[in-house]
């Protein structure tokens, strides 16, 4: 296996019901979720999932409710037993771990953040954040020190002796995030972690996550049903539908080349100019005609989203947009035709 993948999911199936094993073949032969339910009274959770999640990347898994995304994330720490398949984490198949090894795996490798926060209502913020460390039998003093660090990092200093019910939703989820991070896991599992929050709070939490991630470099698996959130957060996005993987790739790829009708519908309403960066859509010099190269050009940064420079393009009407890398040298070009093609839906 390649060493830069943290998680490799292979041929993972989950069928809910009393006797699911014999039904895998039928699903493989194209039986649909509805048919399975009608003819065999079994519910198809996941079907033939393959997914590689690179180390230290932020993988978004997206789908509507019932698509199996929450089921999938619970297979990574085996809160749900699969019907068949492999779940390799650091080259070890989680699904073959003994009960004790599984507990150790959960203590040390993963931590989870939940949609409805799932905080312990009878414990204070501090006790909640140090819960994982308590389970690991840390010294109380050490556990408190580490927990206070994370309470500080998520901006909840001064609230450590409050109870969860005394906090707003956004603050509660900060506790959830701190609780997960205090455990210092390699893998952060976030199950619709921000879906229950108001839009503004949600944006705050997304920013906090991105800021923390740029520094901590965890492997994050993030579940969402919101494409904007997926595009903002994800290094890679996997789209699930009815338990199967519809498409997988980086944000630009999914936005520009939707493979199925389902994905196309998803990306239809996305404001591309707000998501796509100049470097995502730039062309190299060979694609640009000589005339344009010699005309009047305008310089933009590769990391700028289209929205940031489109007004200047409209006003200044340059013949060519020059895209600059981090060191200030040209790494690519954008013609007016290319821009309008991208922005045309």
């Amino acid at each position: 296996m390649s060493s830069d993948n943290k998680i490799e999911i292979r041929k993972l199936y989950k069928i809910f019901g009393p006797n699911p094993l014999p039904l895998i073949d039928k699903v493989d032969n194209g039986m649909s979720k509805d048919q399975l339910l009608e003819e065999h009274k079994h519910v198809l959770g996941l079907s033939d999932i393959h997914l590689d999640i690179p180390n230290q990347s932020l993988q978004v898994i997206m789908g509507l409710s019932g698509s199996g995304k929450s089921t999938l994330i619970r297979h990574i720490n085996r809160l749900i037993e699969p019907t068949s398949g492999e779940m390799m984490v650091d080259g070890q198949d989680v699904l073959t771990l003994s009960q004790n090894d599984l507990l150790d795996f959960r203590k040390n490798k993963t931590a989870m953040v939940f949609q409805k926060f799932a905080l312990l209502p009878h414990k204070t913020v501090l006790q909640n954040v140090s819960f994982g460390l308590f389970i690991k039998k840390f010294e109380p003093v050490e556990a408190e020190k580490q927990s206070m660090h994370w309470i500080d990092r998520v901006g909840l200093l001064g609230f450590e002796h409050r109870y969860p019910q005394q906090l707003s939703g956004g603050m509660q989820q900060r506790v959830g995030l701190a609780r997960a991070l205090a455990n210092d896991p390699d893998i952060l599992l976030m199950d619709e972690a921000f879906s229950a929050l108001d839009p503004l709070i949600r944006k705050d939490m997304q920013d906090i996550l991105l800021e923390l991630q740029s520094e901590l470099k965890k492997t994050v698996v993030f579940i969402t049903h919101d494409l904007d959130e997926a595009l903002k957060l994800g290094d890679n996005i996997a789209i699930l539908k009815d338990g199967s993987m519809d498409q997988e790739g980086d944000a630009v790829n999914i936005l520009l080349n939707p493979k199925t009708e389902y994905v196309r519908k998803f990306v239809e309403d996305v404001n591309r100019s707000r998501v796509l960066k100049a470097k995502n859509i730039m062309q190299n010099s060979s694609e640009i005609s000589k005339d344009l190269m010699n005309g009047q050009s305008m310089k933009v940064k590769g990391d700028d989203v289209i929205e940031k420079f489109i007004d200047r393009v409209v006003v200044d009407k340059p013949t060519l947009v020059e895209v600059l890398g981090e060191d200030g040298s040209a790494i690519g070009y954008l013609s007016a035709e290319r821009l309008s093609e991208i922005l045309r839906k």
């Binding site: 507990l103 409805k116 799932a118 414990k123 409050r162």
Partner: protein, 299 residues
């Protein structure tokens, strides 16, 4: 005509001799059993008797002012209400002034011991029931049976086995009072939010850590409702148990019934009501206190 049985008006029954033989042989078998093993069983329950006698003596021997003081401290700590504390002082003085202090102390000791035993047996049983659907399927009908069988009926085998006295009385009180303890422990643990349990699982908590850190603390308010009900049922049963030799307020009530002493009955009945209200208020207040985290107020 007289000897002719009418199928539609007389319920078809076994011959009277057969029924008598059935009753006789069952009773004889049970008597043999109790003659054979009664002593062992009594020895087995001896520690319980010592525990009970210890409490009764302690309460009777302690100066009444100290008892009132201790009860008031408990009541204040639980309820934080001076009204309830003053109410307790007045009503305890009334009971003492009317000459029922010693009887009330005996009943109080009895109820304390019965409640401690019911908790000690009921909570583990309830936990077991919550963990195993099979245990629940077996225990639930037993609890239904215990709760609906008239208490007088199960006094009989207890008395046959252990004779008249404190221990048979205590056992029948525990049997009568324990079902809510078991039921509500089971219910409280089963009601714990699945997502919170999942969170505990995701951090690698062992079943024991889950029970002690998550399920039990979150079930405590429900469990306390069980404790409260158990105390109330023990109080009710104390009167009936006096028929088989339990001393205290119940015995006086029994004396009042057999001799038609109306005032004696009323006074002792009133003392029991006072005891019930005190226990109820204090145990409910503790139950609510445990839920302080549920309020949105700053603490």
């Amino acid at each position: 005509m007289a000897n002719q049985s009418n199928f539609f008006f007389d319920f078809p029954t076994l011959p009277k001799e057969l029924i008598r033989a059935f009753k006789k042989s069952t009773d004889a078998a049970y008597k043999t059993f109790s003659r054979e093993y009664g002593d062992y069983i009594e020895t087995f329950f001896n520690p319980l008797l010592k525990f009970l006698v210890f409490w009764e003596k302690l309460l009777v021997a302690t100066p009444w002012l100290v008892i009132i003081g201790v009860v008031c401290v408990f009541a204040y700590y639980g309820t934080r209400s001076y009204k309830i504390v003053i109410g307790i002082i007045i009503s305890f003085f009334f009971v003492g002034y009317m000459g029922m202090w010693e009887d009330m102390m005996e009943s109080m000791g009895f109820i304390i011991v019965a409640t401690i035993m019911a908790i000690a047996i009921g909570i583990p049983t309830g936990v077991w029931m919550s963990k195993s659907n099979r245990a629940q399927a077996v225990i639930t009908p037993i609890l239904d049976f215990m709760q609906t069988l008239p208490p007088f009926v199960y006094l009989i085998p207890v008395v046959m086995l252990l004779g008249i006295g404190k221990i048979p009385g205590l056992i029948s009180v525990i049997v009568y009072a324990i079902p809510p303890m078991i039921r509500l422990t089971n219910l409280g643990i089963r009601e714990v939010d699945r997502e919170i349990l999942e969170a505990a699982d995701s951090f690698g908590a062992t079943p024991w850590q889950k029970l002690t850190q998550v399920q039990f603390p979150l079930a405590l308010p429900t469990i306390f409702a069980g404790v409260n009900q158990t105390i109330m049922m023990a109080l009710a049963m104390v009167i009936i148990a006096s028929m088989i030799g339990v001393k205290g307020l119940g015995q006086e009530v029994l004396r009042a019934i057999t001799n038609q002493y109306f005032t004696l009955g009323m006074l002792n009945g009133l003392a029991i009501v006072i005891l019930a209200i005190v226990f109820d208020r204090i145990s409910q207040a503790y139950g609510k206190r445990i839920q302080k985290h549920r309020s949105g107020d700053a603490i």
